[in-house]
Every structure is written in C-alpha cells, then in structure tokens.
Symmetry: C3
Subunit: 374 residues, 3 copies
C-alpha cells in the first residue's frame, strides 16, 4: 500500500470550538462549550484526473461522513482554470449560496435562515463546470427535506438540481456575482420521505408540522443569489422559495415558504478575498496585527399562510433576525470571532404571545468561536 507516483494525496481538517450562551432566553440556559466541528479531509487525486474525497466529522458529539465521493474530469484545462467533471457520492446539493460556502469562510457563527430551506448534503451524481467567470452544476440526487442531509435510505424518486453562478462584471475594485439555483422532484410520505421543521441559528425549532402531515407530491426550490465585492466590502444577498405539496389525511395543500438574507462584511485590516475569509497582510507571529473583519446581516423566513392549520402548537409563521460579528485572524489558518444574533418571531393569524398557540419568545444567541482551518 505504498501509493503509486500517479497518486497525489492532500489533507486538510478543521476544529471549531464555541462558547455559546442564550443570555435572554428562550430558556435562560447556562453558557457552555461545544466542539462545533472536528473534521479531517483527505483527497486523493489519481493521474491528475480522478479524485476520491473522504471527509469524516466528529463535531457536536456525533460522527458523520460529510463528503464522500469520487470524481472524474471529463475535460480540463488546469492552466486556464476550466474543467468539466462528473461526481458521484455524498456532497452538497448545489442550491443555497451560503449552504455551499465552506464553513471555514462563514462570517457568522451559523448560516442564516435561507439555508433552512435549501437541501444540504445529499447522495447523487452531478456534472460540474468551472471557469474563471462561470461555475455551473447539474445533478440528480436521492432528495432530502429542507435544510437536511441524506441518510442512507433513499426516498420515492430523484430530485434534480441545477445552478449557475457567474461573475459577469469586474471593474477595478468592483466585482459582481449573480446566480440562480433550482431543484425539483417529488416526495411522498408513503416512501418514508419526511417534511422538515425549521430552526433558528441557535438551533431552536420555531416551526414544525403537526402529527400526520407528510409530503405528497411536488418539491420545488428556487434560489436566486448574488454577491458584490467593492474593495474591502463583501455583500451577499440570497432568497429561497421552497414549494411543497403536503397532505394530512384527505386534505392536500400547496405551500410556499420563503427565506432571504442580506449580509455585509468589511475587512478592517488584512487582505480581502471575496467570499473567502480575509488573511493577514502580516501574521501576528511576525509582528503584524492579523486580519480583522466586521460583519452584519438581516435575514428572515416566512411560512406559507396556509400552514396555519398544519402547524404544531407553539409554531411561528415568521422569523426575523439580525446579527453582528467580528472576526480576527492572527495567522492565516486561525480565527477568533464573536457573533451576536437576535431572532424574533410572529405568530399565525390569531396567535398571541402567551396564548395556547403562543409564538416562542425572541432568541438572543451569543457565540465566541476559536477555529483552526487547514
């Protein structure tokens, strides 16, 4: 098992440790420490053209295969940054923008509410195109509920997903990226498919379907997305619409849930890298100050009004949140950050705080993070 010379192995990994607190609720929990992510990643490239990727993760007290896939270049000009490749296995479904972003580059402790409507990792096969100005993916997947990742059991029928993301304009320090993603398929409770509930960044469920509601037909997601870089400023906007046909007994309903976010980050010190986290101009180990970035976002998720009779007690119809964060990167692979996020809720028509269908109280979520990413 000495590796042949045609095989090149590259390894990476990350450890993200959090101190988390919910100072004003919802439950007045004591602060605590969490190993949010502890992952190793191994990529073996054969003859510069075939790749196997395995990324097991051990965070949050669980063990999971995050990425596990094989990939072959069908056509590639590595020098020009152009490649067409086919991939099969477990990896991220190409829908939500922030869902696809590496957790090493997030500007806040957790992803915003649009990710709750996007598929996350799924089992499937995908063609992907990459060039300096355009990336595109199109694939067929087993299909997962909103905000969820695939387990081994596959459901009723495949979901197709496609995404294009282009960087049409680049003028001096200004760089624009726009894209659109779509996924479409069907799901049915008879085949073990399920519907997802929705959670805040602090992991509290604010909407769940009541007992006996299941998917029963079309599952469609639409996700326009854009980024804008202007010098030290990076702006991200994304919107997701998730359509589900659901059934409870003999009644069916067509629901459309919507989520959006607008986020901006400013690199106070250091070298901006667009969607990637900034790196220090001079690391602190060489007398520099590292890189500092400040970020703010607003985001929301709104359930279809027709969900009211299908919602479990204590579900909210709308969540709206804002967050502020500061990150410091003393040397390139190390990052320290603080995120403060507040999420407020609105009930369905007729719900009142304190009533039997009471919406949850607002959540305040404070996270200090110490992370190393290789």
């Amino acid at each position: 098992q000495t590796l042949p010379p045609s095989v090149e192995v590259s390894v990476g990994g990350k450890v993200h440790t959090d101190v988390r607190a919910f100072p004003s609720g919802p439950v007045g929990e004591a602060p605590g420490v969490l190993v949010r992510r502890a992952r190793a990643e191994v990529e073996a490239e054969v003859s510069g053209r075939f790749r196997a990727v395995v990324e097991p993760g051990f965070g949050e007290g669980e063990v999971e295969l995050l990425d596990g896939y094989v990939e072959a270049d069908l056509w590639a000009r590595p020098g020009a940054g152009r490649a067409l490749a086919v991939r099969a296995g477990r990896f991220k479904t190409p829908v939500g923008y922030e869902s696809l972003l590496s957790s090493s580059d997030l500007r806040f402790a957790e992803r915003a509410l649009p990710t709750a409507l996007s598929p996350r990792r799924d089992l499937g096969a995908m063609l992907r195109w990459e060039s300096p100005r355009l990336e595109a993916q199109v694939g067929v997947f087993n299909g997962v509920p909103d905000g969820s990742s695939a387990s081994v059991d596959w459901g009723a029928g495949p979901d197709a997903a496609a995404r294009v993301f282009g960087r049409p304009a680049e003028a001096g320090p200004v760089r624009l990226g726009v894209g659109l993603a779509v996924s479409a398929g069907t799901a049915s409770g008879r085949d073990g498919d399920a519907l997802a509930g929705y959670e805040t960044p602090g992991d509290r469920t604010f909407f769940a379907y009541t007992e006996g509601v299941g998917p029963d037909g079309r599952r469609l997601r639409l996700a326009p997305q854009a980024t804008l870089d202007v010098g030290r400023l990076h702006v991200l906007g994304e919107y997701i619409e998730a359509h589900h046909r659901v059934r409870r007994g003999t009644e069916a309903a067509d629901l459309a849930h919507r989520a959006w976010q607008a986020a901006a980050s400013f690199v106070v010190g250091g070298v901006p890298r667009g969607e990637g986290r900034p790196v220090p101009r001079r690391p602190v180990t060489e007398g520099g100050a590292g890189a500092v970035e400040v970020s703010a976002r607003v985001h929301g998720l709104s359930l279809d009004g027709d969900s009211a009779p299908l919602a479990a007690a204590g579900s909210a119809q709308r969540a709206a949140a804002w967050a502020l964060a500061v990150h410091w990167t003393p040397v390139a692979p190390v990052r320290l950050g603080v995120t403060v996020e507040r999420t407020a809720f609105e009930g369905f028509d007729g719900d009142a705080p304190g009533g039997s269908g009471a919406v949850p109280p607002a959540e305040t979520f404070v996270v200090g993070r110490f992370q190393i990413d290789l």
Copy 2:
C-alpha cells in the same frame, strides 16, 4: 509524536459509489445513489516486525471499525515471501474465499451467497503462515452468526477456525489453487448469541427464523474452495456448509444450510492478476485503453428442509442467482463497473407464490459502480 525512524506508516483507502436499481422488483423501488464504502486504512510497521492496522469505514451511512489489530512476525524471510505471524484484534475470520477477498478486487457489485454462510469479521487471535505456494491460518475467535461481524459483546464460547489454501500446480499459463476452511464452536441463546437470517446480494432478507428460535449448541462450517487461472481467464468455485443446532422451546433441531458459487472472469484488455483486479497495460491518461474484464457467475443457497417449521412467514427455502458484470479500469486505482444480478426463490414444501407462506418474487438488481482504491 514525531514517529521514530523504526516506524513505517503506509496508508490506503477506498471510495465506492453506486447507482442502484431494482427494475422489476421485489418492490419497484426508484433508483438511488449509495456510498457503499468510504474507508481509510493505516498500517504502522515497527522494526519491520510488528504491525498495527486500523481501518475505519464510513459507508452506507454508518461508521465502523473494519480492521483493528496488532500483529507480530514470529519468523520471517521477507525476501522469500515466507512468514509466520500472530495477530490479535478485529479482522476477517479465515473461512469463505470470497469473504476474505478484498472488496477492491470483487468481480461483481456484491459477494455471492456463500458469504452469507461464512463468518465475516470477528474479534480473535490467529496464527498465519504465508509462503509462495501455501497460506494457512488458524485462530480462536469470539464467534459470530452466519454472514455477520463481531460487535463488542462476546458470546458463549470461542469458535476455532482454520484454513489452508495452496497453489500446488503451476504449468505455463495455468495456475490452480485449492483450499479448505473449517470453523467450529458452540452458540447458545442464553448468552446473547443469535441466529442470522439470509439476504440476497441486493440486501433483501429471503429467510429468517421465526420468533423464539435460537442457537443451542454446535456451530460448524466447512468451506472447500478453489481457483483456476488459465491465461486471461480466472475461475472461482466455493462451497460452504453451515451446521447449526437450534432450539425453539423444548424442541431442538440440527440444521445444515448449504451455499455455492461458480464464477468466471475474462480479461479482455489489460494485465490479468489472478484473484486481483486486472490493471491497464497503458492507462488512458497515456493514451491507452485501460483494462476491461467481463464476468459471469451462478450461485445458490439452500436451507435445511427441517427449517420449514422454524421459518418466518415469507421465507424461501432456496435462492438461486446469476449475474453478469463488466468492469473498466482506466488507470490502475480507478474502476467503473456494471453488474446485473437476478435471484429467484423456491419455497418450502407447500409454499406457493401468493399463498400465506408465499416465497418472495424474484429480485433483479442493477448496480453501476464508480470506485477508487488506493
């Protein structure tokens, strides 16, 4: 923790991704993608004489330690390919031939029915002998049900296993291998031991014991096995007999289940390597055509007739299957294959398709695989 110079570490791994479909049943399931195997293997050799092997696996949505053992050479002539070693930990029990074959070298998507009667991985201690003409293993194991692997809890008493496999004759392009394996022990329901059901290559159970049946005594397996290489042709034949004394309430029975397979592979293009998968003469990355192999097999499993009153409803007495497969190896570590397999069933005396004791309908199983093995 920098490793001392006396320690040599070698690493390997594999990712096997499947697209699987059951076109004509038994349940008309939609096709789906499966990460069948995602494994890393690390072997550390100390002073050329002691070895520690750890192979965790993350396939099929589960995490498992496949191999985990320590080994010491008691005597070795590495130049002559001769060694006597002792091994302790978790590894494959030396019984079924195809069970012992690396999954990287299988000629079909899944192993044939004899493997359902063989122990797979167990916890134990083993002496093994290796020389160019003969390999032999003898060990003591915690003991596992047919087709099963050890969990941490050990059962009533140890199972002994022994196997010899020789290559007595080698005349020009003809190479014969013959062997015999035996395992013997006892199992008892009182100690938490269990009896296994039996599954098709497509993972459908076609025989299960009814409630309340447990092992109660002798467990004996006999497994003659042979391979024949003639130029580009590789032939494998194996037979396994598994004897179990079982009990249901006050009644005991001595059951003998039998399974067999005959498989042949022909290397259309590339360099044949006997039991190992063929490699390209010239890889496609250097303008070659890679290696192509076509394979066919027939196999079957037959339950003891006295199992009838002990079988759960819907159990079959006999399964018979055939399979065809084509594999293409564009560069040595990469392999693409398609397997088509059909398994038909016969019921116990008096069972009729459609009746209450109905045997399952035939299973057609189609697998496309993309695998990278290092």
Copy 3:
C-alpha cells in the same frame, strides 16, 4: 489544500488488543478478545503557537471523539520548557492523576478506582502552565458525573477545575512529585444532569443509585496526588473525595464518596522513564531483551454511609482491590502485558451475601494485552 509551510502536522495512534477472562466470576463468562482502543491522533501546529488536535477512537465497538480542541500559546519559551497556553474544546478535566495519564503508559490493564470518582473528558476552556518543575491547569467545564465524559448536551452550570503538580525535590536518583486538584460546581436533575454508578476495573457496576435519585446542588471533588521515583522504582499514590448533594423526592442528602490507590512499578530491565512506560536499552530486533516492568497496586472505593437508602439493590458500600502486572516492551512502541486483579466488596450495614440486598461476589479479572503506541 496543500498545507502552508507554517503548519506542522504530527500524527500518532494506538491499537490495544485484549484477551480478557473472569475465571472465578462474577458470572463465569468465557474468555474473549476485545479491541480496547484503536485510535488515531492528528495534531496540527500553526506558526509554532496555535494547535488543533483531533483524536477519534474506534475501540470497544464504539466511535468517539476523544480529544478535539484548539490551543494557543499565550507565552512560551520552548527551549526552557516553559509555556502558558489557553485551550478550548474536548479534553481531559485536570483532576485525577491516573485519569490524566496517557493510556499508553498505564501499568495495569485498566485504571484504578479513584478514576471512577474523577471527571474524565469534558467540554471546556482551560489555561495551562508548564515548566520543568511545575505544571498547573485551571479551567471551566460543562461538568460531567463521576468517572464520565462529556456528551454534547451541557448541564445546569459550569464546573471549575484547578490542579497544580510540582516536582519540588530531585536528589540523585530520587524524584518526588506532589499535587492537588479541585473541581467544584453544581448539578441538578432538572437540567438533565445525572449521577454516576461505580464500576470495577472489569466493568461491573457495584454501586448504582436507585430510581428517582438525582443531583441537586453542590458537586465538589478534592484529589491530592503524589509520585515518587527512586531509581528503577516508580510509586504512585492518589486519593479522591467526591461530594454530591443529591435528592430523592423531598429528601436531600450530602454524600461524600472516597477512593484511593497505592501503586508501585519496578523496571527489571530497560530504561525507566518515571510516569512514562520504560523503553528497552536495546530492542529485541537488535539482539536485546527489551524492557520488563513488574507492578503491584492496592486500591479501594468507599461510598458514603448515608447512600444506603439511596442505593439500588445489589449495591456494595465498599470495593477493595489488588492487582499484579508484568509488561514486556520488545521495541519501544510495542508492549505485551498480563494483569491479574481481584476486587472484593462489602455491603452496607445489614447487607449480607446471599440476602436480598446481597453484595456482589468478588471479581477476578485477567487481561492479556498486546498494544502498539505511536
């Protein structure tokens, strides 16, 4: 993902395989093989100052993240062996001496009874100081029951832990180490905190609380500890007191449990290394005899007398044990050992062997171990 030059990765790992038997009970189990530990450890150091450590383990049929933390040196003089560092994530709480000792260096198959009263691995943040004569740790942790490790859910409030261990005197071949550790916090059944039962080294529970008893307040542990090296002799003494306020319905009680051990090891052949396992002067692969060490210990655990009405049936009030062990290290990373341990029990006042509140029979535990540690 090629690593930058500022990152240094070091890897380690261990496989510990046991043959275990309970020759005279308590249950007359057959001997069996166990993969006690199968672990890989990766440490990535960035700019000589930041560290990420991930150590997954696959022993005993389970998968677990043992260590997973990030660490930063606040101040360091590596040449002088002095450093002040801050660490956050999952790692060992600095309380019991033998709990903190690497499993690679243990003198017996399992740790002694004081470890049953110490926290093991927890989620937390810690400052640690290291110098040739003194090591000290002070940290805040989520808090775990006695002898337990953290899962992801955190409890009612943080536990603080602090430990100092010094080597004040060093006179020729004599080297003394003394230390004290304290942990303090609160636990409450309302927040999901639990109380631990207590087990023998052979993994048999000899004390458990009865249904409905939970923690309800103060949790305090005191752990004085000392080591003495005199030439080839290494002696370890430790004592732990664990105070718990518990509640059953409307009745509360303040309990103090106590455990202690005295252990001595003598290096018959090879180079002694204090708390570390001895290494051969000449390894067997170069014609040497390796290193041989013989060890003996006595240890005990005594439950608070007021635990009697709170104890589950079959609980003992006191366990007392002795053990003998011999280890042989043929080459530095390889170790073979045999441990024999006998644990006897005394009941609470009024308990009698054979009565309804009968104490368990004595346990005899024999372990043969073959381990490789890198």
